[in-house]
């Protein structure tokens, strides 16, 4: 491959990414419009809430519970070696959970489960030409397909995050109690969580919950071909929404740090 071809390839990839970013932004705008003004099937929002929320409960409970146990175990292990004082583990863990790990890990799990589900569902509707049928009957696919999932994700993302934080904190407390003989009264202490932490956690939750359905729906609508295309769309949805969660986390946490730095 000559140098010129290489540069051309990089340029083509950059242009593709730019175009996709523009389309994604337009989809995001269209979704908001669909939320307020679009038409959608009756009961679809409730239906999607059930699929996004209730059906993810077990998944979130298992994953967040285990990660809570692991994190408390690892930090107790390290603290015991260095300072030997475990009394701060619980309050600090809750603070970290509320402002960062709770929303982020729940959102990563949601990107995996719900994001892949949305892309697979919409993608198979595209390749079986059901979306074209919707367009022919004068319905915007974004209003009809993405907007209800968007509302469901925003509501249920918040609910699942609260649930996940509770489960992880409980599992962590039980680990500290059973493995390190830490008094649960010392562990279950919410006094360290400031309003700022709660606000940061809520902002993160809301932004993740908006990013995941839009990116996944967008990837689903871009599906081409047949079963291969659906698979590729699902993969793109999982990767795109996970990456979006991590980048958003970085941006919001960084903004939070700078704000705290100015106003201690």
């Amino acid at each position: 491959m000559s140098a010129r071809e290489r540069i051309e390839r990089v340029g083509a990839a950059a242009l593709d990414a730019l175009a996709a970013g523009g389309q994604l932004a337009r989809t995001f705008g269209a979704t908001w419009r669909g939320v307020f003004r679009g038409q959608r099937p009756a009961g679809e929002v409730a239906n999607q809430m059930y699929v996004v929320g209730n059906k993810s409960l077990l998944f979130i409970a298992v994953t967040l519970g285990f990660i809570g146990m692991v994190m408390v175990y690892q930090s107790c292990l390290q603290l015991e070696r260095i300072t030997g004082d475990l009394s701060q583990v619980g309050p600090e863990f809750l603070k970290l959970l509320v402002q960062d790990f709770g929303p982020t890990i729940t959102a990563l799990m949601l990107a995996t489960r719900v994001g892949a589900g949305i892309a697979a569902e919409i993608g198979s509707m595209v390749v079986t030409e059901q979306v074209d049928a919707l367009r022919m009957s004068g319905v915007t696919p974004i209003d009809y397909l993405i907007a209800p999932r968007f509302i469901a994700c925003v509501v249920m993302g918040g609910v699942l995050t609260v649930f996940g934080v509770a489960i992880a904190f409980l599992a962590g407390g039980l680990t500290a109690w059973s493995s390190f003989d830490l008094n649960p009264r010392l562990f279950f202490d919410p006094s360290r969580v400031r309003f700022f932490d709660l606000a940061l956690g809520l902002i993160k939750t809301a932004s993740y919950a908006m990013a995941v359905p839009v990116i996944s729906g967008f990837c689903g609508l871009r599906a081409r071909g047949s079963s291969e295309g659906v698979g590729a769309a699902t993969t793109a949805a999982v990767i795109g929404s996970s990456l979006a969660v991590i980048v958003l986390n970085f941006v919001i946490s960084g903004a939070g740090l700078i704000l705290v730095g100015r106003d201690p």
């Binding site: 892949a116 698979g231 990456l243």
Partner: protein, 264 residues
């Protein structure tokens, strides 16, 4: 199936039983697949060209996404540590905190989740497409064992490549952490470096790498299992990809918990 006089309590129990049966069926299927793969590996006999091709596709092509993710993760870890630095004036602990978290927990788990999203789901989609288009039956008709030809190279490639990607990702995360601690916290590179080197040893790094190899095996087995057990066209492929990423995420969290206890 259902008796005419069943109470309202029957529905949740039925759901619970159906879920349990489903989980048991999938776990059993994965275990049988693991046994078949193991039998092909003693003595090792597989298609070498297929192995190299898969290693390139799964490993080399995933480097950008892994590097991008872990770069931001390093930044996020430093931002989290930075909140404490401002509170307790403990700049000397940033490298240690970020390094410990990245090497032992966040690095392997997040890289495995991204790997499962990109490579695992891609693999399920590919094998699923081959299954629904009856290419696996075609292989069998030609007296080629699909396990030996398709599955074993993928399993080996994913294990090896996730291990290598974790090495790369850990290092990128540390570089990202050092960079952002300079930019956001005004910390010298040498402070970060010595804080990392003085407080951590090889076991922390190896702890994470052992985890990543096990995660690679579990991602490979779940994604191959859901790929070859696809039923029903494009919709089935989408559903299989979704199920595979969910199963991989759950198994990563579960294995992470047990390995944390078992490993030093």
């Amino acid at each position: 199936m259902s008796s005419p006089r069943r109470g309202a309590w029957a529905a949740p129990i039925e759901t619970f039983g159906a879920t349990a049966m489903q989980v048991a069926r999938e776990a059993g299927g994965i275990a049988i697949l693991a046994g078949r793969v193991a039998r092909c590996l003693v003595p090792p006999s597989m298609d070498g060209r297929e192995l190299v091709r898969n290693m390139y596709r799964m490993g080399n092509r995933s480097v950008p996404i892994v590097a991008l993710t872990t770069f931001f993760v390093g930044g996020i870890m430093v931002i989290q540590a930075g909140m404490y630095v401002k509170q307790f004036n403990a700049a000397g602990l940033v490298g240690w905190g970020a390094g410990y978290a990245i090497f032992r927990e966040i690095g392997p788990v997040l890289i495995a989740l991204m790997f499962s999203g990109r490579v695992g789901s891609n693999n399920t989609a590919e094998l699923g497409t081959m299954t629904v288009t009856e290419q696996l039956d075609g292989l069998r008709a030609l007296a080629i064992d699909p396990i030996r030809y398709l599955i074993v190279p993928r399993v080996v490639a994913m294990m090896v490549m996730l291990f290598i990607l974790t090495v790369v990702g850990d290092l990128v995360a540390i570089v990202g952490g050092a960079l952002f601690s300079r930019l956001l916290l005004g910390l010298e590179y040498s402070t970060f470096y010595y804080s990392l080197i003085d407080n951590l040893n090889w076991t922390d790094f190896v702890h994470g790498l052992v985890k990543s190899a096990v995660f690679g095996l579990s991602i490979a087995l779940t994604s191959c299992y859901f790929g070859v057990s696809v039923r029903g066209g494009a919709t089935g492929v989408g559903r299989a990809v979704n199920a595979a990423v969910v199963a991989a995420a759950v198994s990563i969290m579960l294995l992470d918990f047990f390995l944390t206890y078992l490993l030093p």
